[in-house]
Symmetry: C2
Subunit: 346 residues, 2 copies
């Protein structure tokens, strides 16, 4: 038995917002563990943001090289290069992993889509926390990755630290998944939990804003679109469907029927915003809607900002996974997990 | 993009009891799916049982070659060879996977331990549903597998269709797991669920026997030893501990304190037989005991014969997985899952 030197894994980080910064910090914090337990040595040849990139004169960025607490500080960093080009950086290092953390756009997929295409074309693996590129062109990106013999990983885009894709693809390998149900959005689940306790929608949303749970513009969350994007990505990856967002019937929680709340109360049910995909005689349907769950449903006890997903299979019965931190550090941990799993070991 | 021919994967099956037979059937049922989705072509050069083996004159066994419904019928099978030797079969095929399904012995690990050692030494991967060999010599088997560059998989031995190891090793890669808690035995959980509904221990055990949930001799279950073996395997695999069964403090449910049942009732808690491992300032402790859970605990709603496990981590918070069928088909599906995951693909 011999211990090989750790394998150097260049990481080009796209986006230095909350998740990107948490990821940059986490990788350095976990460097020793990556080397000792997984034989990997992750390092950063560049970090890109709007208008340029941090590109060090030496080989790789150290933690102290990017101490910035906000994107606007980057331009004062000595390594900031407004002329930095992704293509040049990718070409000047042996292929590693492009990590995509730019803001997501569910309609165009940009800017992440262009970054990911470029990286895959140049033989780099990709781990993305951004949903947009996958919502817009999962099929094309997957085919490109397969053609180039590299990995396209996106745990960070499909509920992050909650391992939806790992369980669906790895733990359920060899099964036929007949349905997936998910409580996939922390903001709406927090609001519905408060409403189940007797609060109003407006008060619950206000509290979610004050506690930093809801984004300043929560419309993608409360409108059901964040849940829709996630359940669609899970379905396309695990069940082999080719859904686009337009194929999904999506109802959010902004206009909850009072009758639904009354029924939940009188029938002892629990109201959740549920993303679902079902297979029925070879055809698939997917959607998002406020749904009354029986208290014995495996997702009924997923409360507050927690998330969960249930897979229904032919040979393993139902398998449910819940939990996983929803904060930037949890998303960063999901990205690191994906990178570690790109390089198999025993 | 090109589709390669499926890779032939010889499987030598040890043990043709309930799980072994379910596995043999399942693999044939899933043959097309294995070829199309995973590029793998699993086939059986031999099936071993006490006193011999089915070894076909042609290359591989077809489903109709092993129609036996009980082990005692095997001796009348035309392919039955009382002189069949494992070493000879392993040597006469290119290395594949040895699948270990013989009855488990938590003290000696035999006969599985000898089978697994032999297979690993001869460069075969191993997937085992039997806990005994791992309880007795996990460290030695793991080192041998590493030395030979092959995989040692044991989902089937650590709660089967409930993906405890996948989640701990794959989905939580890069985290530090500080504690694991598990409801890992269906028989005891069924009994405690009934007792929570007001039934007596004796009546619940009787019902479990009548419904085929409890084994004729349920002492390993109700004594807590099945749970102990599983939580120990999870800890040793995921947390890198080197526990033996003797290191665990194990209390089963045969002598439940009436005070515990009264407290559960009066405090609104839920009684579970919990396997636990905890890390505390670099040292680890593990054990099994009847435990009162708060209703908000992620395992509190795991009822009846269902199982579940919760991992507490540094970066992803808690992640809980529940469900997974406990029958022989579920165990067979876990073995097939492990085999598929031995051969990575994208």
């Amino acid at each position: 038995m011999k211990i090989a030197d750790p394998k150097s894994v260049p990481i080009v980080l796209m986006g230095f917002g909350n998740v990107g910064r948490a990821f940059f910090r986490l990788v350095h914090e976990k460097k020793d563990l990556c080397r000792a337990r997984y034989g990997l040595d992750p390092c950063f040849p560049a970090v890109f943001e709007v208008g340029g990139a941090l590109i060090p004169a030496k080989s790789f960025l150290e933690p102290a090289d990017a101490p910035e607490s906000s994107v606007s500080d980057l331009v004062r960093n000595p390594f900031w290069n407004p002329a930095g080009k992704l293509e040049d950086v990718l070409a000047s290092h042996s292929p590693g992993v492009l990590v995509e953390c730019t803001p997501t756009n569910l309609k165009t997929g940009e800017p992440g889509l262009a970054h990911i295409r470029k990286a895959l074309e140049m033989g780099w693996h990709v781990a993305t926390a951004s949903k947009g590129p996958l919502v817009v062109d999962f099929k094309g990106l997957k085919a490109l990755a397969l053609d180039k013999g590299v990995s396209l990983k996106f745990s960070g885009a499909a509920a992050a630290a909650l391992p939806t894709l790992d369980v669906g693809l790895y733990s359920l390998a060899g099964t036929q998944v007949s349905a997936v149900e998910g409580v996939l959005n922390g903001t709406t689940n927090f609001i519905l939990t408060r409403m189940g306790e007797g609060g109003s929608y407006a008060a619950a949303l206000q509290e979610a804003r004050e506690r930093g749970i809801a984004e300043p513009d929560p419309s993608l969350d409360v409108g059901g679109w964040d849940t829709a994007a996630k359940i669609m990505l899970i379905a396309n990856a695990v069940m082999g469907t080719e859904f686009t967002l337009a194929d999904l019937s999506v109802t959010g929680i902004t206009d909850l029927s009072p009758a639904l709340l009354v029924r939940a109360e009188s029938e002892g049910k629990i109201l959740k915003l549920l993303g679902t995909v079902r297979r029925n005689e070879g055809t698939y349907s997917a959607g998002v809607a406020p749904t009354l769950l029986d208290p014995s449903h495996p997702l009924a006890a997923v409360n507050g900002t927690a998330k969960g997903v249930t897979f229904w299979t032919d040979t393993m019965g139902q398998v449910t996974v819940t939990g996983g931190k929803s904060d930037p550090r949890g998303a960063a941990a999901a990205l690191l997990k994906d990178i570690i799993n790109i390089f198999p070991r025993d």
